[in-house]
Each structure stands twice: as C-alpha cells, then as structure tokens.
C-alpha cells in the first residue's frame, strides 16, 4: 500500500503538484495524464528526488523524511522513462547493485537474483553485459531490478516506451504476474491507455498537477472530466 497525502510541488511560479492525495491499495495501479500533468513529478517526489510539503507512506510507514537511497532500502523500486542499466556490468551485477546495501546473506541474495532472472526468462543470459542487450531486453532487466530485495512499492515509468505492440503486450503480461511473485504495490505511469486499462485495477488521473479522478480504472476512464483532459474529448456540462 502506498499513501500520498497533500503533495505540493512548485517550480518557480508553476504548480507541478497541487495537494495531490491518493491511497493505492490495489496490486497494480496506474497514473495517467497529459504531458506536463505531473506524473513523473509525482514519481520523483515518491522516490525522494524532490522534497516537498506533504507526506508519503509505504505500508503505513512514513518515508517522507528519508533520503532517496534510504527509501530504496525501505523497499521502493523504480524504473525510469529511459532505462538506466550500467552498460559495463553484467545483467546479474545490475541486479546485485540493488541488493548490495540491503542486509542478508550472499546465498539469499543469489537466490533472489536467480528468481528474478527466471521471472523475466533470463537465466541463461545472467552474465551478458548490459551493453549487449536490445531495448526490449533492457526493459525486462529493468523490471527484474525492481523485483529483488523484498520490494514494497514498485514504480514503473513508461515501462513500454519505445517498444513494439507485441513487446508491450509481453511486458504487460509480465507486470500482471508481479503480484503473484511479491507483495509489492505496483504503480505504473504510461500514456498507453489500453495497457493501463488491461493491467491496472485503480488509476489516478492528473491534469495541471491536480488530481481530477481516482478510482477503478474502467470508471475513471469513462469519467467525462478525464476524457476531456486526457483523451481530448470535450466535456459535456
């Protein structure tokens, strides 16, 4: 569970987040909104990259005052719009980075990596250098990085960016399997409404930094306000 309480962010005169509050209880939830709505800002605030008034809780534990790397150690995992694997490290080492600061025996950490690699069907490519992977494979490894170290919250920022329709479907199927693998709450930002509709139980819609709708994805997408703001359909008053 992840709870956002009155998040406020201003960049100069621009209000990027205006008292955004939401509680994500569903195994997989989404955040959508037009460009500049504040989706990535929300993710950056949750990650600790931007400090702002408001509170953030992971499983009822407040993390608002923690530094970014400490939030990761508290169970936050995230991917970026452009995947960020270290090219000169192997796939296995890219996963080990996340586990290095966490407590636990070397054997347990090895098992976690093996499990995560099996999840993305990468068991036989663990020693490949990240530089040798294509875009789709890099996205898969990015997801595997989010699965190790007993995560509480997994945030995926446009996990299907730059992928084909078929690859997007595969990533979607993989994300759907995450709740069966770990107990983390998954939060997805994506422009692909079809993907959000298919995999997210709940969805938060942002527009100009404000929350304009939050609830069951099907109901939210049918909301005239959402259609007006995000889908470009005129709101009928």
């Amino acid at each position: 569970m992840i709870e956002l309480d009155n998040l406020q962010v201003k960049f100069g005169g621009v209000v990027a987040l205006d008292n955004v509050s939401a509680t994500f209880n569903a195994p997989i939830s989404g955040i959508i909104g037009p460009n500049g709505a504040g989706k990535t800002t929300t993710m950056n605030v949750i990650s600790g990259f931007i400090q702002c008034p408001g509170k953030i809780f992971f499983d009822s534990q407040e993390v608002s005052l923690l530094a970014a790397h400490q939030r990761t150690r508290q169970g936050l995992r995230r991917s970026f719009q452009h995947e960020q694997l270290a090219n000169d490290l192997s796939v296995r080492d890219n996963l080990r980075i996340v586990l290095d600061p966490l407590p636990g025996s070397a054997a347990d950490k090895r098992n976690e990596i093996t499990k995560a690699l099996a999840f993305i069907e990468f068991t036989d490519r663990a020693e490949m250098l990240a530089a040798q992977l294509n875009t789709f494979q890099r996205r898969l490894v990015d997801i595997a990085r989010c699965l190790v170290g007993n995560p509480k919250v997994i945030m995926l920022d446009e996990p299907c960016g730059g992928l084909t329709q078929e690859e997007t479907t595969q990533i979607g199927n993989l994300i759907l399997k995450i709740p069966a693998m770990c107990s983390a709450t998954v939060l997805i930002i994506d422009h692909d409404v079809e993907l959000i509709k298919r995999i997210c139980t709940d969805t938060l819609v942002l527009d100009f930094g404000r929350c304009i709708a939050f609830g069951k994805t099907i109901e939210v997408l049918a909301d005239p306000k959402v259609q007006a703001a995000y889908l470009g359909i005129e709101e009928i008053v």
């Binding site: 970014a68 790397h69 990761t72 080990r96 600061p101």
Partner: protein
C-alpha cells in the same frame, strides 16, 4: 574470487618485470623504472576514477607529493620500519583525498576538474615554499646542507631489490583496484557513472561511494609518492607541480583508463620516454609533442587508449580475423 584472463596477464607481466628488469637495467635505468612504476600507480588511481566514475581529478601528482612528504617526514623524525611509514603516508594522503572529495559531492565534469587543479596548485605552492624534509629539525625538517640518509625496506636495500619491491607493491595495488571493481563499490561506481538518479534509485549512497573513490585514489597516490621518496631518499617540489597532474591524467587517457595496461603505458610514457630521449642526446621536452599527438589520437580514434587498441588487436588475432 575468480582470476580473469586480464588478471593472469597482469600476473605474468609482473613476474616478467620482476625477473627481467633488474637483469637488463643498470645504474640510472633502475631508478628510471622505479620512478615509472610509482607514476604507473598514481596513473592507475586517476584512471580508475575516470573510467569507473567519470570523474576527472587533476590533483593526483600533488597528492603524490603529500605522500612523499609524509614518508620523508616520518623517516627523518622516527625510527619506524619503512612499511609503517608507507602505511602512514598512504593513510594521510587518503585523508587528503577525502578532503578533495568534498567539492566532488556537489560538482561534476569541468568544475570538479578545476577544483582539483586548484587544490593541486595550492599543494604546489606549499611544497615549493617549505620543500621536502631532509633530516632538519622542526615540523618542516629542512636543512640546507646534505640530506640525512633514508631507510629503505630491509629486504630491498639495493636499487635493484627496491625496484622489485616497488613492482610487487604496484601489482598488489592493481589487485586492490580490481577487487573494488568487482565488488559492491565497483557496481555502485558503475551506476553513479550511468546516472546519479538511477544510483539513488538502486539504494546507492552517492556521497559515501564518491568519497570512497577519492579516498582510494588518494591512498594509491600516497603509496606512489612514498615509494618514489624511497627511490632516491630525496624529493624535489618541481616533480609535483600542478601541470604534472594534468600531464599524468592526459597520459592515463592516452594509455587507456579502463585497463591496467593503460596505466603501465602512462607510466612508461611519463618517465621512460624522456629518459630515453636524454639517453639519445635529444631534448626530453620533445616528448611533449609526442604526448600531444598521442592525446589527439586517443581522443579522435581510440577512446580506450593505446591499451584498448592492443587488447582489440589481440582479440582479433585470437578470433583469427585480420
């Protein structure tokens, strides 16, 4: 920890040097190779910072000066064994490395390079003003007449034995760098170089690991400076000018910052080539033209430096392709 092919090559290279150099080199050349080994170690420190973290430090030779100063100070002030003085000199320089890391926590790229260069300039002024201890009294320990004797390691009293001693220490330091590369610090550094945001999102404490890198680089510079002090028992401030730090960094790039061989090439270019020119009756400053051309060559055509080209050629040869 498994020894890699590069590791075996390094061990073989070290053994070859240990056997061949003292046999082939004589008189002044033993001192030249000892000095080249010390600068190889300093180049390795600056190269790993550049290749692993993408950070440019232009204060490495100045840090060597600190290591050398502490070594001479300890030698003339106390009666400790060489190894104890070496550890103290390395530790003090590591602390200076950490101090140098403070701006690195906020700065990157050109600004960080300039800060380290300014620090090198400051150290140059201090070393030029107060000079290196040579057995005098007081804190600075300088006497105008001849210097007091320097105590080398008991097992390496002669020049040839000392060269072998230095080669072994340099090889151990290369192993230390490689252990770092293959464990948690190396992974954290790789991620910091990729993106600091991604490193934070991976739970990496950026401040801690950047300071660690500067500390390790300082430690290596300190050992290099202390070993250099042991070569002739005296040091001259002119050796540690800020411009020398720039030169050493440039040569680390020319040699190839990613590989141990690159640091060896940098050490050879820095110390052996000028000595060779002197031996041939040529002006040693001519090497600066060669260094400039080599740097241009590295920047334009060989991002992994001469060592990258050598390793690339070796790989091609092994695959049987022309």
């Amino acid at each position: 920890m498994k020894i890699t092919r590069s590791g075996y090559a390094g061990i073989a290279f070290t053994l070859a040097l240990l056997i061949l150099l003292p046999m082939l080199a004589n008189g002044q050349w033993v001192k030249v190779f000892t000095s080249a080994s010390c600068f190889t170690l300093a180049a390795a420190g600056v190269a790993f910072m550049y290749s692993r973290l993408g950070m440019v430090s232009l204060g490495q030779v100045a840090l060597m000066g600190i290591g050398g100063w502490v070594m001479l100070r300890m030698n003339h002030a106390f009666n400790f064994p060489f190894e104890v003085n070496l550890i103290i000199a390395a530790s003090v320089t590591m602390i200076f490395g950490w101090v140098l890391a403070l701006p690195a926590l906020k700065m990157r790229g050109l600004y960080l390079a300039l800060i380290t260069l300014m620090a090198a300039g400051g150290i140059e002024v201090i070393l030029s003003t107060y000079r290196f201890p040579n057995g005098g009294t007081g804190f600075w320990g300088v006497i105008p007449s001849v210097a007091a004797p320097f105590r080398r390691p008991m097992i390496a009293a002669s020049d040839s034995a000392y060269l072998q001693y230095v080669i072994v220490i340099v090889a151990l330091c290369f192993a230390l760098i490689d252990i770092h590369r293959r464990t948690a610090p190396g992974r954290a550094w790789a991620m910091i170089r990729r993106s600091e945001a991604a490193a934070l999102a991976s739970g990496v404490n950026i401040v801690y690991y950047k300071a660690w890198a500067f500390g390790l680089s300082g430690l290596l510079a300190g050992i290099a400076g202390a070993l250099l002090a042991g070569s002739i028992g005296l040091l001259d401030a002119a050796t540690f000018r800020a411009s020398e730090s720039i030169m050493l960094f440039a040569l680390a790039v020319v040699g190839g910052a990613r590989f141990w061989l690159g640091a060896v090439i940098a050490g050879i270019l820095y110390r052996v080539l000028p000595a060779l020119f002197n031996d041939w009756g040529l002006d040693a400053d001519l090497t600066l033209i060669i260094f400039g051309a080599a740097l241009l060559h590295a920047i334009i055509t060989a991002p992994d430096g001469i060592s990258g080209q050598i390793i690339g050629l070796t790989s091609k040869f092994k695959r049987g392709t022309p």
